[in-house]
Symmetry: C2
Subunit: 362 residues, 2 copies
C-alpha cells in the first residue's frame, strides 16, 4: 500500500493506493466525525465490491447505510442526485455524517456533489473502482452532475477527506473501461511528465495485462501529477486547466454522440490527438510527435479518430464548453510530448482543420 | 448611503445601505468581471423595481439578461433553480458572468445557490428588496433551496461580491412582510446587542412608519451585527449558530403548517419566545425578560403564540433540523435579553413545556 498526500492546507488529504485498500476500515474510521457513514454505489459495482468495504466497517462498529443507484452517465443527473438526498433526509443524516463514493467517476462526481450540497456541505470519502476514477476523478475535489445542455455544468469544488484506490477492484473492470482509463494516465505524461510517458511506452504490455505492480506504479505516478497540479491551483485559475488536454474536443464528442456512446477516455484520446494535430499546425510539435502519441493510443486499444459529426457541429459544441472566456476558445495545446500550455492563439481555421484531420468524414 | 464591510480576507465585500442604492451602476460595474450580468427576480418585484436597477446598467454599457421566476417560497425548489440554469446555458453564460439577485430572501437564496453551482461557481451580487433580506439573508453567503423533507436542506456557502440594500424598495413591501423582517432585526438585539434592543424599543413607531432615517439605522446596525458574526465564523462552526435564535422552533412551525402559511419572521418570533421561555425554565432569565420581548413583538404586530400542531409534532419536526448533532438537539438560548448561547443542556421535558406554553392548544 502506498500513500501520497494532496497538500491543500486545512483541506489536505491522503491518497492511499494498493491491493486491499477498500478494507482499511482503520483509515476510514480515522476520517469520520461520527461512527456512521452512507455508502453510495451503483447496481454494477455494489454486488462486486461493496462487501469488501462494508464488512470491515461493520466489524469496526461503524453504522453504514447503502444508497445503490442505477448505473450509467445518464444517471449523473438531478433526479438521481435527489435519491441520495431523499435517503439522507429519510435517515436523518446530520452535518457530521460522511458519504463514501464506491464506484467510477459517475458515482464519485454525483456523491461528491451531494456531499457538497447536503446541508451546505458534509464530509466525503472517495473509493474509486475504475482506472479513470483512481487516477483522475477521485482526486482534486471537482464534483458535478450533468445538465441536458452540457456535461458537468452544475457542480462544486468539494475536497474529499480521503481517497482509497484499491487496485484489486480493477480486476473486474471491463476491458473497454480499462483502456479508457489509460487515456487519462497517458494524459499526465503528455502534459507534464515526459519520463512517465516513456515509462508508459515501456510498460504498456504489463499494464494491459493488469499486472498489480505496474498498475500501482501507474496510478501512484498519475495521482502524484494530479496532486501537484491541484495543490498549486485548486480552483482552476491557471495550471489546473492543463489537465483538460483533449477535453474540449472530447466533450464535444461525448455530447455530440449522446452520453454513453463514447467513453470519456476514448473521447479524450481522440481529443488529445486533435490538440496534438493543432499544435503541429502551429509549428509547436512535429509529425513524429503526433505519430508517437497515436502509436501509444493504438497499442492501448484506444480510438484515434473521432465520429463524423461534421466540423461545424464540433465547433458549436465546443463553444458551449466552460473553457470559453470572453467569447474566445482557450485550448490546451502541446509544446512537446511532455509539456502542455493553455492558449487562445490558434486561428479558427486551424482548429477546424485539426478536427477535420482527426474525425471521420460525414 | 452608508457602506460597511464584511471582512472575510479574499472574500470580503461591501454592504451598501440607503435610498437609491439599486441605481449605483458604478458599484456594480466595479464588481463585474465582464460587461454582462444576469438579473434574477420574480413576478412581483420585477414590475416594481427592476427598471431602477436595469436602466442605469444599460446606460453604463452593461449587457443584462433577466430571468423572472414565479413568486413564492414553494418555488425555492429544484425545478425553479433549473430555470436559471436553462437560461444561463441557453445564453451561453460563462464562468465570469455575474448573477444579480433582485428580490427577497427566496430570490437571494436560489440565485446565490445557482451562482454557487453553475459551472462550479460564478460571482453574484445581492440586491435585497425585503427588510428580512436586507438585514439577514443577503449577508453572509448562505444559499439554499428547499427539499420536500426540509427547508434549506440543499445549499452552499457562497459569498456575494456586493450587497446593495436600497431602502426605497421597502416602500412597496406588504405590511405583513415588513413586520416579519422586524423579527430578524430584533433578533440581533436579543442575541448580542442590548443597546440596539433598547434603540428598537425606543424607535418602534418610527420603524413601523417606515421613516427612512430609522430604517437605514436599523438595517445598518443589523448588518453590522451579522457581518461581525459571519467574519468570526463563516462556516457556522461556532458563534454563527447564535443567529439561529428561535429558528429551530420556527422552522418546525414553517414546515408543520406548509411553506408560506406562516412567514419566516412570524415563525421565528414565536420561536424566539419559545427559546426565551425555555431559558426562563432553566433559570437563566426571568419572567420580566420574557414579557419584555413579548411586548416588543406585540407592538410590531408579530405573533406571540405558535400554531396548534401538538408538542409531539413540534419535537419531531425539530429533530429533522440541521442543529441536531450526534442525535442531541442543540438550541440557541438566552443568558439575558442581549446575550445568546448555544446549548444542549435543556432537558427534553423542559423543551416540551416551553413549546406547550407558547403554542395554541390542539
Ligand atoms: N471530477 C473529476 O475531476 C472528473 C475527472 C474525469 C472524469 N470525471 C467524470 O467521471 C465520469 C467517468 O468516470 P468512469 O469512466 O469511471 O465511468 P463510470 O463511473 O460510468 O464507470 C464505468 C463503468 O464501469 C463500471 N464499474 C465501475 N467500477 C467497476 C469495477 N471495479 N468492476 C466492474 N465494473 C465497474 C461502472 O458501473 C460503469 O458501468 C464522467 O462522468 C466524467 O465526467 C470527473
Ligand atoms: N440565506 C440566509 O442566510 C437566509 C436568512 C434568513 C432567511 N432566508 C430565507 O429567506 C426567505 C424568506 O425571505 P423573505 O422574507 O424576503 O421572503 P420572499 O423572498 O418570499 O419575499 C416576501 C414577499 O415579498 C415580495 N417582495 C419582495 N420585495 C418586495 C418589495 N420591495 N415590494 C413588494 N413586494 C416585495 C416577494 O415577492 C414575496 O412575495 C426564506 O426562504 C428563508 O429561508 C435565508
Ligand atoms: Zn477527463
Ligand atoms: Zn431567519
Amino acid at each position: 500500500m502506498q500513500t501520497l498526500n494532496l497538500d491543500l492546507a486545512e483541506r489536505s488529504y491522503p491518497i492511499v493506493v494498493g491491493a486491499g485498500a477498500l478494507a482499511r476500515a482503520d483509515l476510514i474510521a480515522g476520517a469520520l466525525a461520527q461512527p456512521r457513514a452512507v455508502i453510495v454505489s451503483n447496481e454494477t459495482v455494489a454486488p462486486l465490491h461493496l462487501a469488501k468495504l462494508k464488512a470491515p466497517l461493520t466489524a469496526a462498529g461503524i453504522d453504514t447505510l447503502d444508497v445503490i443507484l442505477p448505473d450509467g452517465e445518464e444517471y449523473k443527473d438531478w433526479p438521481t442526485l435527489n435519491r441520495i438526498f431523499d435517503a439522507l433526509l429519510a435517515n436523518r443524516c446530520e452535518r457530521s455524517t460522511t458519504l463514501i463514493a464506491l464506484g467510477g467517476g459517475v458515482i464519485g462526481d454525483i456523491t461528491g456533489f451531494a456531499a457538497a450540497c447536503y446541508q451546505r456541505g458534509v464530509p466525503f470519502i472517495q473509493a474509486p473502482t475504475t482506472l479513470l476514477a483512481q487516477v483522475d476523478s477521485s482526486v482534486g475535489g471537482k464534483t458535478a452532475i450533468n445538465h441536458p445542455l452540457g456535461k458537468n455544468m452544475i457542480g462544486a469544488f468539494h475536497q474529499p477527506q480521503l481517497v482509497l484506490a484499491d487496485t484489486d477492484t480493477l480486476a473486474t473492470l471491463p476491458l473497454r473501461e480499462f483502456r479508457s482509463g489509460l487515456a487519462e494516465v497517458i494524459k499526465y505524461g503528455l502534459i507534464r511528465d515526459p519520463a512517465f510517458l516513456a515509462w508508459l511506452e515501456a510498460n504498456t504490455d504489463a499494464l494491459l495485462a493488469r499486472e498489480p505492480q505496474a498498475l500501482a506504479e501507474a496510478i501512484v505516478r498519475s495521482c502524484r501529477n494530479k496532486a501537484e497540479v491541484v495543490a498549486a491551483d485548486e480552483r482552476e485559475s491557471g495550471e489546473r486547466a492543463l489537465l483538460n488536454l483533449g477535453h474540449t474536443f472530447g466533450h464535444a464528442i461525448e455530447t455530440g454522440c449522446g452520453y454513453g456512446v463514447w467513453l470519456h477516455g476514448e473521447a479524450i484520446a481522440v481529443g488529445m490527438l486533435m490538440a496534438a494535430e493543432l499544435s503541429r499546425r502551429l509549428g509547436w510539435i512535429d509529425s513524429a510527435a503526433v505519430e508517437r502519441i497515436e502509436a501509444l493510443f493504438v497499442r492501448c486499444g484506444l480510438p484515434v479518430q473521432g465520429p463524423a459529426l461534421g466540423v461545424e457541429r464540433y465547433l458549436e459544441l465546443m463553444a458551449h464548453d466552460k473553457k470559453v472566456q470572453d467569447g474566445k476558445l482557450r485550448l490546451v495545446l502541446l509544446r512537446s510530448a511532455g509539456e502542455a500550455v493553455l492558449s487562445s492563439a490558434a486561428p479558427a481555421a486551424d482548429i477546424a482543420a485539426a478536427i477535420a484531420a482527426r474525425c471521420r468524414a460525414e
